[in-house]
Symmetry: C5
Subunit: 364 residues, 5 copies
């Protein structure tokens, strides 16, 4: 049992504490979330159709200097626990203090907000962690400007590496497009990874289902409970994302070019598909709980039936034996020659009648 | 029990794995789904009011050559596991790479998307498989152009054969109409087949219901569970279809002629009817679960009542017998002449009182 | 129990089989539904403010001849199993083949569709059948033209007779109004009859409720289940009707005159009221199921408490008796003079202590 | 138990029978509802800023004569069982027959309908009746004309008396405003009274809650059931009211002056507040049912644990005693000197081991 | 148990009584709510970018005199039980009587209403009280004028102190902005505090969860029940707030400047986030109830299994012992030399068979 408790516990510990901000003025830059990484690491990737420059890690002033290049500049920040880095970078790019606050506050609801010179988008990267397939959330903020893209992550190690490789090798269409297309590719990579998580969840659900159909155990109940929680958390992350992607694909923003719209519509479709999957999982999980409860009841019924059958047969027999175990001086049956066999036969007859009765009730 | 487990299992194995696409760029043509058929088979059916040409199977270049005919060209692809065939065919007809990706990714949500020169529509063909009436889904993609229709299926063997026959024999209105009407006829054939599946499901529900009302068994619980899952999956396929058909029947597309709109409205009505049926099935299934649980409780109550009645009567009697079985030297009752009959009478009296009491409680 | 099964069964048998249409082209006239009546009977009622003509039964050609009269012509068809009659009549009045198909397909969802020269409306007539108050559905189709009204029913015997009488006797406003008002009157008669069915249902619910509060029986559970099914079916018939009546009362149709609109609004109100009633019934039924389950639990608790009390008191006593029934040679208590009374007193004391303990636990 | 049944019963008897109208033409004036009052009583109150005239009771012709006064005329009708009175009054004021029908049909859904020269509004007055705080509904219809207001109630005795007094004494703003403001004041008085009913309901819920937390009884279950029913009925009355008040406060009607709009918005707010309360009550009630079921389970568990503990300890002991009560001739233990004490010690040891085992399982 | 009852009770006692207003005319100033504070205390804070004036406490006439200053005037009223103070202040600022009524009626639903010269907004301040983390609600009303802000609270002691300090020290942007920004800052402070309450609630939920997973106790059930109630109450306070903040951020009001809109959008986002949290809590709580019920069932099953195992083994054995305890004169087994060991062996064999059978059923 304690294993389950520990797993549940650990999840709580990673919860973010939003309350430490209560009472502070708007735009106060306080990092909310656990510190996931020792140092804040910046990296820059500047490219156009002709070529690309890359610096990992890069110092803050160097990163800022890329702002004025005509080519697309992607600055990525790993680690948010140093508000000053975020602030100086954002100030250089003219980002509103409220947005800076949102970047640092890592329990944001997925959303997109349009400003004059940039779009702010925030969503969750979702991972499955071995060995228990625990689901972990990491907030990713994107600032999409005309020719730059800033991304902020809580920790290093992300799902963007294949894309970086493609940019370096000039594969596909990324290098031919602007920062909006790059943003789409990042969001697409994040959403694609949801399916990995969703399938892991699906496998865990199937595993529980098989155990439940076979023989229900209390441990399955706890796994069911954890699965339910994970589904609830996934849902909380994916539902608002849909709205955000719809905003992108409606093409209301000047910063998203017409050619990129249908890509956003594609990732929107993926998001809706993911929502379908989550809702189905919820339905299946609630069905599994019913299955568990019914199986439990079945077992209880079975146990009680055995108890009732044994008792129904032997309690009357024991009574008969008890009667002839009484010590009255004058019990004529006791002196009969065939008293003992007669008693045994009588008991057998009683048992037989009871057995037939139970059989007719279909208990045995 | 193991039969149930096997059936549940098989269903999981046929699930599609969307995760293998994670990390790939958009437009990557990867077939997601099981390989249902050995070879990819193309067939072409080209017709107008005057005549028709048919080639089964047809080579890819030959199929492509039909593009420029003025008559309606219907090219059907059975089997999706060879991305190259799909890609070459689609490229020839000028289909966007994202659409090609969707065609190959066989866990699409039903939807329709309009492009400049064609409409992309995707939905599920649903079958019932003997002997356990398992429900199977097969994705069908339709590309509706001005004078052509491309259809992509996961496997051969579909619900379109009666229609093909009618085209050959020039029965009905198909030959007189364009590719939009042909698309309607295909979608209508698919949706009509939903009712076959729905009725099979309904029959299975009725079968369970009858068993449940008669005498509930754990096996019915598992069947209920499978039915619930099937309903959830059906629902996932039919709900978005409604939206798609509404898009068609609103007549916003240049490619769908005014005369075809009311046919799409008709199939939209059928879809809504199917949704009604599914929702009703869901309600009925949840009612059956309640019925099962209550019946279980009823049986438990009955079992416990028998146990309680037997115990209530015989435990006190056995105690009396036990008392007179004690070996105290000085137990005056034991030496009474009518001690034994008196004891028996007393036991009978106790039993009678208890029986009357139980009768008043309406337990017996 | 078998009575319940039979009732449930019969309901299933009257279900319609939509699947026999799968694979047929649109406009195929196949009657879906049970054949409720031996012969198809046509009747005609032609009237204006001045007079009326009536023919029951009427031959098809005679009925058709009324089309061109300036007065309002109401042709009623009882029985749908002869597609030819429907087809010839409809063709004469210029009705679209898809509508003809819908008329014959008797599991339509209530809806209204407007065409150039007529409105097609379809809804359910609902009856309660003695002796078990089973609910039966009969589809009624209305074709509302400028000066004619065609009605199609599955069987003879309907709720329209009082209206026919009023037309003959020129009572009320029917003779003074057009075919739209006549259609309203028919729909109003149908919807009014819903309340009769709703009240019967309400009475059955009350009957079950009273039994449940008194003493729950498994039979009530089955009745609850049937009631739930009936409510679900009613709901399926009435919800879409609301939408249909809203379409009428919005006055978008040229064929419905302004003066008739408020009458349609009135029947719309009735429909909403009926929906309210059905939703309330659903809530009450789900409350009754909770009540049933809780009552069952109560009874189980009571049974177990009696069992526990009897066992708690007598099992220890029997043990004491068993101890003094042992045959050891050297058991000093057995030889004491007051050993036996002492043992009895001790048992009494034990019983008393246990009784007090149980009393403190409030079990007795 | 029978007290509960009686209370439930009485509620049913007061239900209205809508079905007696089935088959009648529209505008048939049939009173639906119980006859609550012996005679139909009319009263008139005619006022403007200068003065007021009042007649209680008033004869019908006298009441009608007030129509043409320039001052505001409020005619109130107590008792609806005499359709003729309603008809003559309404005809005099030019009210449509369908509205007259609605006035008499006392199971209307709250609604407002605008006509050329008047607004028809209908809603429920809700009372709590001692001693069991039963909730009773009375329909109130309002006809709001330019300078008159007709109100129709099922019985005398209403919540309007304070308002009448204020008119007589020219307190507040009533005398300064028109009939629309008077209508607002009446509706406000009715809605204000909902809060009294809501609080009574809240108190009953709290009372049940306290009992449930203390010790659950079957009686609480019945009270819960009645509370649920009352909440459902309240909900049915208040939800549509919201829509009606929204219609008023949107100010679409010529008959409601701009200055009165914000008053209607205020009563709309109250109505929404009431809906909030009802929804909260529903949530709390469903929580209480869960609490009840869980408490029942707790008690069952407790009972079973006692039974299991007693049985686990004494059944093995009794068996040992039974063994040494056997009458075999050659049982060496029986002849041992310390056989008996040894047996007792052994039994004690067995009991001790079992007790420790049960303790480790935390059963005792 | 009584501790729980007391806690529940106290919450009820603090409920507000809306019913004392029933029957009063609109605009009647009656304070609804408990009297939380001895005296009504007014404070004033008048500032612009240049400087600020503060008076705590301030007399009513002095407070009123600030109205005509060009600088922003914030008048705060602590305590609402003296209607006269509210009335005189509001009359001086030209506030509508219906608004005054709403200020005093402390069970308002959060809302905002726009008038010609001011906006009325009302919402709840929410606190957690030690030691049981009970949630308490206090109504705050804001009147936002062009250059003034009136706030009304039920008691002193609020979440505004940090803001007051910032105004005095001219930190941040408050002094540079108008009354609309001040209003935003107050609302933001209130909503920020919701997160503190939400996290406390989350902690209590986790605490219960851990206990439930470990070993369920009836006390956890009561805590669950209290948590559910608290969640329902929170929900009731936060849902309508969302609508109110949306009204603000849509920027329809002349009194809210364009620059403040995005701040309102920010607090709107926080509110939506809070709603997400509450909904998640609700889901988790309902999952915990299921967990509790299942755990209870598990324990019952376990108890019954032990009882059944003990009974199944010992009841047959006791019967055998009982048979050989019978006193028949002629029982040959009793005289056999190895009768006793044979009987013991037989009993052992019976026990062994039963044990093996139970093992195969996986009960032991």
């Amino acid at each position: 049992m304690s294993r389950w408790r520990k797993r549940t516990k650990r999840r709580h510990l990673t919860e973010k504490r939003r309350s430490k901000k209560a009472g502070l003025p708007p735009g106060s830059l306080v990092h909310i979330g656990e510190q996931r990484q020792a140092a804040v690491v910046l990296s820059v990737l500047d490219y156009d159709e002709e070529g690309f420059r890359e610096q990992i890690p890069v110092e803050l002033p160097d990163a800022c200097s890329f702002r004025d290049s005509a080519s697309v500049t992607w600055i990525n920040v790993d680690g948010l626990h140093d508000p000053e880095v975020v602030q100086r970078l954002c100030d250089h790019f003219g980002i509103h203090p409220l947005v800076q606050e949102d970047i640092l506050n890592t329990d944001q609801r997925p959303k997109m907000e349009e400003f004059d010179t940039y779009i702010y988008a925030v969503l969750n990267m979702i991972y499955c962690h071995a060995p228990h397939d625990e689901i972990e959330f990491e907030q990713v903020s994107l600032i999409i400007g005309a020719n730059f893209l800033l991304t902020f992550q809580e920790a290093g190690g992300d799902v963007f590496d294949p894309l970086r490789q493609r940019i370096r090798e000039n594969q596909g269409a990324v290098r031919k497009n602007g920062s909006d297309y790059l943003a789409y590719r990042l969001i697409d990579a994040i959403v694609d990874n949801y399916f990995v998580v969703g399938e892991k969840l699906g496998e865990r659900i199937e595993a529980v289902e098989e155990i439940l159909i076979d023989r229900p155990e209390p441990a399955s109940l706890h796994e069911l409970h954890l699965l339910k929680r994970d589904t609830i958390r996934l849902r909380k992350a994916v539902w608002p994302l849909r709205e955000m992607l719809a905003s992108f694909s409606r093409g209301e923003s000047r910063l998203v070019q017409a050619g990129t719209l249908m890509y956003f519509r594609d990732v929107y479709d993926h998001c809706v598909q993911m929502i379908d999957t989550i809702e189905t999982d919820r339905d299946v999980l609630s069905g599994l709980l019913d299955l568990y409860l019914s199986s439990q009841n079945n077992r209880l019924n079975e146990v009680m039936k055995v108890l009732a059958v044994i008792s129904t047969i032997f309690i009357p027999l024991s009574f008969v034996a008890g009667v002839y175990g009484m010590n009255f001086q004058d019990m004529p049956e006791l002196r009969w020659k065939y008293g003992y066999p007669a008693a045994l036969v009588m008991m057998g007859a009683v048992a037989l009648v009871l057995l037939l009765w139970l059989r007719r009730k279909r208990w045995i």
